[in-house]
């Protein structure tokens, strides 16, 4: 169980870092006009969303199919 607590902390910390950097890159990317830039924006947005989901999981707001981690 302690292992799971540790994992949740790591997940949360990582998610904050990655999520913020994704958001900042998104803001930096915003004015660009190329087709690939537009796609990149979408991708970064979804990346940030992914991080939000992980944070919610780490806080147990999304309980998920939580089974104790082995190994």
């Amino acid at each position: 169980m302690e292992l799971d607590v540790l994992l949740r902390v790591i997940a949360f910390a990582g998610a904050v870092v990655v999520g913020l950097s994704a958001l900042m890159s998104l803001i930096a990317e915003w004015p660009k006009k190329g087709l690939d830039d537009h796609v990149t924006k979408v991708m970064l947005g979804l990346l940030a969303l992914g991080c939000v989901i992980v944070i919610l999981v780490a806080f147990g707001i999304f309980p998920g199919i939580a089974v104790p981690t082995k190994g």
Partner: protein, 198 residues
Amino acid sequence: MATHVLTVDDATYQEVRDQRLLGFLLFLISDVIVFSSFIYGYIYLRSTVMTWPPPGIEPAALYMAGVNSIVLFGSGATMHYAMEFFKHGDKRKFVGYMIATIFLGLGFLGGQAFEYFNLLHAGTTWPSSIYGASFFTLTGLHGFHVFIGVIFLITVLIQAQRGTYTQQRYFGLTAGALYWHFVDVIWVALFSLLYVWK
């Protein structure tokens, strides 16, 4: 005159690059379709039973996967930075972030291998049940894409070191980046559907 030729060539390059970019995006879309039909299958099968996972089936560990997801998402971020640094001509940082991306990708694969090991150890195999079927098929398909992506990035990195790409002409790099982002984003969906959805 020379300048004229040059502009024509840049236009030529632009023309071809646009075609390839569009082609590549269409390819990604068709890949999304492949994933979505497997996801549809997963949701369909899941809707036919009352309890998920079926009793006696050991599901994958959530928090482990959460950490692993962050590893992959992180690689997405580093990939983006690598791109940015390349565009601004900072070769050294570019290489650094590329390598970081590649290792994070490998890390994710390692995490998945560990997870598979645990599951198989617990008796949750591919043919064991509809849970095993959907879980291993979807994550396996994605893992395969990550693996391809890693190879893709390594190739692109070598190419870059060989100086194939100039600051104006780096379609291979763009493709690599887009593919990697695509792999990330697919995982957002898979993580939510396979682990978080209760």
